[in-house]
């Protein structure tokens, strides 16, 4: 199926990637080429074939319902990004992460 510019913008929005007009145009060309490569799959009859996700057909391992992880909050928060919008300090407060207001 041929893609158009509005498809690219819709996909970019789903992927949460801001995209300019110019980037969308360039992306359309590249993605059309890649999808052309992928289209070769459609010639294969796959009726009745079980999809494969892992070569060893393993079952999901379960672990005991006990605490296994240590608290690494401080170490993790050391990697917090800067707040942005003029504020250069780390986007953390009282052990939490700061983002824009989401509830009025």
């Amino acid at each position: 199926m041929a893609l158009n510019i509005s498809d690219i913008k819709r996909i970019a929005h789903l992927a949460r990637l801001e995209i300019s007009e110019q980037e969308a145009t360039q992306t359309l060309t590249k993605l059309t080429g890649i999808l052309g490569l992928i289209e070769q799959m459609q010639a294969v009859d796959t009726t009745g074939i079980t999809p494969m996700s892992h070569s060893q057909d393993v079952v999901q391992r379960l672990r005991d319902d006990v605490v296994t992880k240590t608290n690494m909050r401080e170490a993790f928060q050391a990697n917090a990004p800067k707040v942005g919008n003029g504020a250069a300090e780390k986007a953390v407060y009282g052990g939490l992460y700061l983002v824009s207001q989401v509830i009025e």
Binding site: L3, L35, M41, P51, S55, F76, P81, V99, S100
Partner: protein
């Protein structure tokens, strides 16, 4: 010393001819001299490295050394290393300091190995030339105008230029083997599930597998002894008994050590698209194997030409899901200016990711989007089974499969950078084993116009020990794996 095997380096340390600190400093000096032009390493920490070397010297002195204790290694920047900048080659993680060690790194730590630094790579391991790295391209040590391959291009250049004793890499579609071929050394992608993915930054989780990159098969066996093993922190890690991958190497002596070995030659790997000079070198290597006693069998992997289409559905689909975690909230790049939360996500991700990573996220998002899942993702998983079944059939006729690793020798920087489809074809011979979950090795087999050519060995599940034996047998009667660029001696 820089050309010595890991075993020889181990003997030098054990017999006190040299200390780990001195050996490590030798490599650090070479890095200081050559890395500014090659760009193989993107993070160095002299103090951390020397501290590890000093600890190794204490272990050696008190008799608790293991085979790799005190040996200086390069680590691909995809592995979290506690206290080290860990970027995965991306602006998104340019300021990320890993709070813990990846399983692979803690295994090397327990073994007493020394971490020389973190190596350059294609951004999030998406690339075959190292040109998508936020930290710039890497030079192929054999010809600075050419790429080292990718995505493990920094580790590849570090091994080839002897800026480390050995290195680690990861291979999702060929990222260990293709650079091993282009830079002229030995690289092994193990069976999927053999090496834990814990702490290894995810690209396509059902395909990603870590492995050794080293001068010889023997070195790779020693590295794999440390890297392989069950880890409950990776849900796809396989719980199997530990093996000694060096156990059979000693038997590869004498006139015909491979008598009885059946080598399968897939006709699809010697068809159109393979450079004629590369084909010649590969055929000569196979002739050498016949001299070692092996017989060759013509086989077919009829669905192998579908590997690339299938891979470019599955890998981007998994990548789009894995990379959705980079939202600028808890770590990674956050845009300097934004309106609301949605705008923060959109801008942070647009600024933090490079062009190739964005392309793959978009493809992945598209093939997983409503109405397209069955036509793309499910279909690709079905053909993936057909590709795996081809190998099952083939291994009824042969013990090991051989062919080229890459369709050509190293290409010039910039040559394919703007043509994703041409770049993707670099992995035409390596991707099938990732899809099937099988192990693959690339070994140096000679040169074409002064550039290295790799021979690929593909084995059955968990057959790494035999594959390493077969590679070692060839390296006993050839010296391609000992060659290094004259200008870097």
């Amino acid at each position: 010393m820089i050309n010595h095997s890991l075993k020889e380096l181990g003997h030098m340390l054990a017999s006190k001819q040299i200390s780990s600190v001195e050996m490590t400093q030798t490599f650090l000096d070479r890095i200081a001299k050559y890395n500014p032009s090659i760009n193989a390493y993107i993070a160095l920490d002299h103090d951390k490295t020397i501290t590890q070397a000093k600890a190794a010297d204490i272990r050696i002195a008190n008799g608790s050394a293991e085979p790799l204790t005190g040996i200086p290694l390069a680590q691909k920047d995809i592995f979290c290393a506690k206290g080290w900048q860990t970027t995965c080659g991306s602006k998104m993680l340019a300021n990320f300091i890993a709070p813990y060690d990846a399983h692979v790194l803690s295994q090397f730590d327990h073994a007493g190995a020394v971490n020389l630094g973190k190596t350059n790579m294609d951004e999030f391991a998406m690339g075959s030339s190292n040109e998508t790295s936020y930290f710039g391209g890497v030079k192929n040590p054999w010809d600075f105008d050419r790429v080292p391959g990718g995505s493990s291009g920094g580790s590849a250049a570090a091994v080839a230029a002897r800026l480390c004793a050995a290195a680690t890499g990861t291979d999702t579609g060929g990222s260990i083997r293709q650079p091993a071929s282009l830079c002229g050394f030995t690289g092994l992608k193990p069976t999927y599930g053999l090496v834990s993915r814990y702490g290894m930054i995810a690209f396509a989780s059902s395909l990603d597998q870590a492995g050794p990159m080293a001068k010889s098969a023997e070195d790779c066996a020693l590295m794999l002894n440390v890297m392989a093993g069950f880890d409950e922190r990776d849900s796809t890690s396989l719980n199997r008994a530990k093996e000694d991958y060096t156990r059979g190497l000693v038997n590869m002596q004498g006139a015909q050590p491979l008598k009885g070995l059946r080598i399968g030659l897939p006709k699809e790997y010697f068809a159109d698209g393979l450079d004629a000079n590369v084909a010649k070198v590969v055929q000569a290597a196979i002739a050498e194997y016949r001299k070692l006693g092996a017989e060759t069998v013509d086989i077919s992997l009829p669905n192998s030409q579908l590997s690339i289409p299938v891979y470019y559905v599955l890998a981007p689909a998994e990548a789009s899901s894995n990379l959705s975690r980079y939202d600028g909230v808890r770590y990674g790049h956050r845009a300097a200016a934004y309106d609301d939360l949605m705008d923060m996500y959109m801008k942070s991700r647009a600024e933090g990711f490079g062009a190739e990573v964005k392309r793959r996220i978009l493809i992945g998002t598209y093939v997983l989007s409503a109405g397209y899942y069955d036509a793309y993702y499910l279909k690709a998983q079905q053909i993936r089974r057909l590709i795996a079944d081809d190998f099952t059939q083939a291994f009824k006729q042969c013990d090991i499969i051989m062919g080229p690793t890459a369709p050509s020798t190293a290409f010039k920087a910039g040559e394919k950078a703007d043509d994703p489809v041409a770049m993707y074809l670099q992995d035409v011979y390596t991707i099938a084993t990732n899809l099937a979950g099988l192990p693959g090795i690339s070994i140096p087999a000679g040169f074409s116009n002064g550039l290295p050519v790799g021979l690929q060995l593909m084995g059955n599940y968990f057959d790494e020990a035999r594959m390493l034996d077969v590679a070692h047998a060839y390296q006993q009667v050839t010296d391609w794996h000992t060659r290094m660029p004259e200008s870097l001696k």
